[in-house]
């Protein structure tokens, strides 16, 4: 698809969503945008995730295809790498944890380049994508955990602790929280990277730009709301606690930015299970990561295998022994022996 078409269509969709979200500020619509839409979004999100995960779990794995990044367990004097080439469940768990918490395989990213002196191909490691991705994901996590101050009463100690670290600069009032800006910066980097690298731009579709635009808009509206165009935070918490209590009353006078922010979050939740963002669930089902490298110890049975009717040589000989002996063919068990056995 043409690059401009992808970029602009995703941009237009997000703009329309922002406009729809702004309708939440209309008092008559507040029960819809403040209660119905969020609850619906959460339900779609949960049902969608469960559906996707069950779909993943129903897919058979015909072959053992773990990727090995270290020495498989073999002869005792050859050093085994238990995490990069795990042969036990514990090893697999360790490898998965490294993958999910540190994006280990992304860290191995390499880039091909032509050397300075002449056409000589060299492969170097590049970690920029890894850096962008890890900052993006951890900033997102931090922001979401900090948001729990809207949903817990009394607010949890963990949330306080994270706020303390996140706001350690103690600049401005309300205090600057680094994670919100880190999220915006890393998301912006991931977008620019897509736009700047020709190959990447070529393979990028509207459904690559859309989630980026959506998350960037969520972060931008949040930052605007916290530092520039203030909204009534106490009323926001009242609303959040009301929803959590299934009490459907919407406090008045929350600024329009909040309604945009909330609506975009609802869209993100409802879109999540049906988009590429479901990689967060899919990673657990990657056979290259979640299988043990024990192919020499255990035979992996293809679950597709249907029971095959087999006819062993012994059975064959039993069936045709007389005819074989008549024809002078060699047999394992002589004829008379069988006769005496019978």
């Amino acid at each position: 698809m043409n690059f401009w078409v992808s970029l602009i269509s995703a941009g237009v969709v997000v703009t329309v969503l922002i406009a729809i979200g702004a309708l939440g500020a209309v008092p008559a619509l507040q029960v819809i945008f403040g209660v119905a839409v969020p609850i619906l979004a959460v339900l779609i999100f949960l049902a969608g995730i469960i559906w996707r995960v069950v779909q993943y779990a129903r897919r058979p794995v015909p072959f053992a295809i773990p990727t090995t990044c270290g020495q498989q367990k073999t002869l005792p004097w050859i050093k085994h790498n238990p995490v990069e080439s795990p042969n036990s469940t514990a090893g697999v768990v360790a490898r998965m944890a490294l993958e999910i918490l540190t994006f280990r395989s992304l860290f191995r990213n390499t880039a091909m380049s032509l050397g300075e002196d002449g056409p000589k191909i060299t492969y170097g490691s590049t970690q920029w994508l890894w850096l962008g991705a890890i900052v993006f994901h951890y900033a997102f996590l931090t922001v979401v955990i900090r948001h729990m101050r809207f949903f817990t009463e009394p607010v949890w100690g963990l949330v306080h602790l994270i706020e303390t670290f996140d706001g350690f600069l103690e600049v401005g009032l309300p205090g600057l929280m680094l994670s919100g800006f880190a999220l915006l910066a890393a998301g912006g980097y991931l977008l620019l990277r897509r736009l700047a690298i020709p190959q990447l731009r070529y393979i990028s579709l509207p459904n690559d730009y859309f989630p980026l635009f959506l998350i960037l808009s969520i972060a931008a509206s949040g930052i605007l709301m916290r530092y520039f165009v203030k909204v009534d935070i106490v009323a926001v918490k009242e609303l959040a606690m009301n929803i959590a209590n299934f009490k459907f009353a919407v406090p008045e006078g929350i600024g329009v930015l909040f309604w945009i922010h909330l609506f975009l979050v609802c869209v993100l939740l409802a879109y999540f299970p049906f988009s590429k963002l479901i990689h967060s669930g899919g990673v657990f089902f990657s056979p290259t990561r979640n299988m043990a490298t024990n192919t020499r110890e255990y035979r992996h049975i293809n679950p597709w295998n249907y029971p095959v009717k087999i006819h062993t040589y012994e059975a064959y000989e039993d069936e045709f022994r007389e005819k074989m002996v008549e024809a002078g063919l060699p047999v394992d068990k002589p004829l008379d022996e069988e006769a005496t056995a019978q």
Binding site: L46, E153, V155, L173, V234, K237, A240, N245, G255
Partner: protein, 128 residues
């Protein structure tokens, strides 16, 4: 479905963690804070109108602080009159009940402004 046990455990854990705001609040009364205006100033006005103060007082304080500490300018012309730009003398002069006023909101949204490490809570209560 393959690995039924593990997958179902995973799904159940995920759903529990994701929906915790719902079940953690079950049966709890959700009482929004009602900051108590000190009776001595009840009926008066704040330095700006109430809706503005509610959402913007921290930014106002930030401006006051910068204005005093950097420019030496201690008078504020607010929408409702002239005020001395001072946390203790102005804000806390009228709102001398920090615990029932400022803190009631701040506790609700998990804030512990560190202002009181240096500033005193109110003119009357000098060791606060």
């Amino acid at each position: 479905m393959y690995d039924k046990g593990k997958v179902i455990t995973g799904i159940v854990l995920f759903v529990i963690v994701f929906t915790f705001p719902f079940w953690i609040n079950v049966g709890k009364a959700n009482i929004a804070p009602e900051p108590k205006i000190n009776p001595e100033v009840a009926g008066k006005v704040c330095v700006e109108d109430k809706a503005f103060m509610k959402a913007n007082h921290m930014q106002l304080l930030d401006e006051w602080r910068d204005s005093v500490v950097r420019d030496g300018n201690r008078t504020y012309m607010g929408g409702t009159g002239r005020y001395e730009m001072s946390l203790t003398n102005s804000c806390m002069g009228c709102h001398n009940n920090k615990a029932q006023f400022c803190d009631s909101c701040h506790n609700y949204v998990s804030l512990t402004p560190n202002c009181w490490n240096c500033h005193i809570e109110s003119k009357e209560n000098t060791n606060g």
